[in-house]
């Protein structure tokens, strides 16, 4: 189990970025870390993976194989994605052949379209994010740390990322990620830790943080219990849709309040069942 004890961090003589963080992360857990911009989430992640060292406090139980996906991955390199991943595999102790095979599998799984041989620095944000994800998975990690991994990924990659997170957790690894969207947190995390507040269990009927009010409404759609399967819909193409997360038989959609009614009409017409609708800042669900 990864354990942080009274971890604090500041740079030089600046103000404290993190203060007295006590956090236990057992194997198999998916932990979401929330907090406002600049609240020290990224610093906490960098301490978790061992890139930054805490000014005070200790980190114990860090596993040997760690996958880390930082928030910005915008390499200036002329290396191609495949060459980069092969290098990273070799650094992790794989042979060149194994590293290249594994890199190829991951690139296929994440559907890195046309980016295999292109220089890293020419990749779009989403594709660069896929390369960053792939390098973290070259060797199955016992701890996977992701800094806002959903930003920039397309909808199909969202599904793959959810799968990856589940795979790592099912194999007994811990997953830690930061994310601003509550719908994603609710769908993925088994626990939430607020950096500038107290730790608590993730539960959908509690507003996560009063300070963090989204403008969007959250719509959860499910397949009806009986009857026909609903029509497949490209939700992100609809007007006002901010973010789409697809789970097993449900879809969580963040939509601008003005476009909410139109979205619901479309959903019902196509055979979906509306599970819940929550307006921005509203504390409880309306069923």
């Amino acid at each position: 189990m990864l354990r942080l004890t009274e971890v604090s961090k500041r740079y030089g003589r600046g103000s404290w970025v993190l203060r007295d963080v006590d956090l236990d992360i057992p194997d198999g857990e998916v932990l979401a870390i929330t907090g406002a911009n600049g609240s020290g989430k990224s610093t906490l992640l960098r301490i978790l993976v061992g890139v930054a060292r805490p000014t005070r406090g200790t980190v114990s139980g860090r596993p040997e194989v760690i996958g880390f996906v930082p928030d910005r991955f915008s390499p200036h390199e002329r290396l191609s994605a495949m060459a980069y991943l092969t290098h990273m595999g070799r650094i992790r102790g794989l042979s060149t052949g194994t590293a290249a095979t594994r890199a190829g599998e991951l690139v296929d799984r994440l559907a890195l379209v046309g980016g295999r041989t292109a220089p890293l620095r020419t990749l779009s944000k989403g594709n660069a994010q896929k390369v960053a994800l792939a390098q973290a998975l070259l060797v199955a990690p016992r701890l996977l740390v992701l800094d806002e991994p959903w930003s920039g990924l397309d909808t199909s990659a969202h599904g793959v990322l959810s799968e990856i997170i589940r795979d790592v957790a099912d194999a007994g690894g811990a997953v830690v990620f930061t994310e601003h969207h509550e719908s994603i947190i609710a769908a993925q995390a088994s626990r939430t830790y607020a950096v500038d507040g107290a730790e608590k269990a993730a539960s959908p009927d509690q507003p996560d943080q009063p300070a963090r009010r989204r403008q969007a409404a959250t719509v959860v759609l499910t397949e009806p219990a009986a009857g026909n399967r609903p029509q497949h819909t490209d939700w992100s193409a609809l007007e006002g849709v901010d973010e789409v997360v697809e789970h097993d038989s449900a879809v969580t959609i963040l939509v601008a309040p003005g476009s909410c009614d139109a979205l619901l009409r479309t959903a019902l017409r196509r055979g979906w069942s509306v599970d819940s609708v929550r307006r921005a800042g509203e504390p409880s669900e309306v069923r």
Binding site: Y11, R46, V49, G50, V51, A52, R53, E64, I66, G67, F68, P70, D71, R72, F73, S74, P75, H76, E77, R78, L79, A83, H87, M88, R90, I91, R92, G93, A132, Q135, A136
Partner: protein, 218 residues
């Protein structure tokens, strides 16, 4: 470790930022070492002085190629930050050795010098001494220690000038001075070996200091 060194070379070669220091080194060496047919030690002294400046430059560039997010990934993949720094030093040293080897052979190709085995030994030791101190200064002035590029450049320039030109400064200034005096290579082996040992200690100390500062900066 080999994976890290390969990756270091790959990023450096692809970035093409090694070109400026390498061109400068070969160009200056070519201009000043042709047409001279005297003893080899002063010629090798010039090569070592050039390599000193070049390895500082090369090290700063090498450690600046990866942006911080990218470097964080490499550190996590390598397991320990120290390993990545050691690999960078190895890349800088191996590159310096290639240039140093060129500086040893080139004068023999363009002019007739009386050559003895000891000349080459002294020449190699001189190259290693200068490369070590150059890399040491490069580490201290890299992005890991000095974030602002302007400051880093001025600091590097100051340190290089002091190490090279301040009279009696151990080991680079003393080395160049001794080798240019016209002593025989047999008389130079012992003092140059001593200077090389000092240079290696300086490199180890600067590497430790860089790792110490970088770990607290991150």
């Amino acid at each position: 470790m080999i994976g890290l060194i390969r990756y270091g070379f790959a990023t450096m070669l692809h970035s093409q930022r090694y070109l400026a220091p390498v061109l400068w080194f070969t160009g200056v060496l070519g201009v000043f070492s042709s047409g001279d047919s005297g003893p080899l030690a002063p010629v090798y002294a010039l090569g070592a002085a050039l390599l000193f400046v070049c390895s500082t430059w090369f090290t700063i560039v090498l450690l600046g190629v990866e942006d911080p997010a990218h470097r964080a990934i490499t550190i996590v993949a390598a397991g320990r930050p120290r390993r990545l720094l050691l690999a960078s030093i190895a890349v800088a040293m191996l590159s310096s050795l290639v240039l140093g080897g060129f500086a040893l052979v080139f004068p023999l190709l363009v002019a007739r010098h009386p050559v003895a085995g000891l000349d080459l030994v002294v020449g190699l030791e001189a190259q290693l001494t200068c490369a070590s101190v150059g890399i040491a200064i490069g580490l201290l002035c890299s992005r890991l220690v000095i974030r602002r590029q302007g400051f880093a450049l001025v600091t590097a320039l100051g340190l290089v000038i002091v190490a090279l030109l301040a009279p009696g400064m151990v080991p680079v200034n003393v080395l160049i001075h001794r080798m240019s005096e016209g002593s025989t290579s047999a008389a130079l082996v012992a003092p140059v070996s001593g200077l090389l040992a000092i240079a290696v200690v300086i490199l180890a100390a600067c590497a430790t200091a860089t790792q110490f500062v970088a770990a607290r900066r991150d």
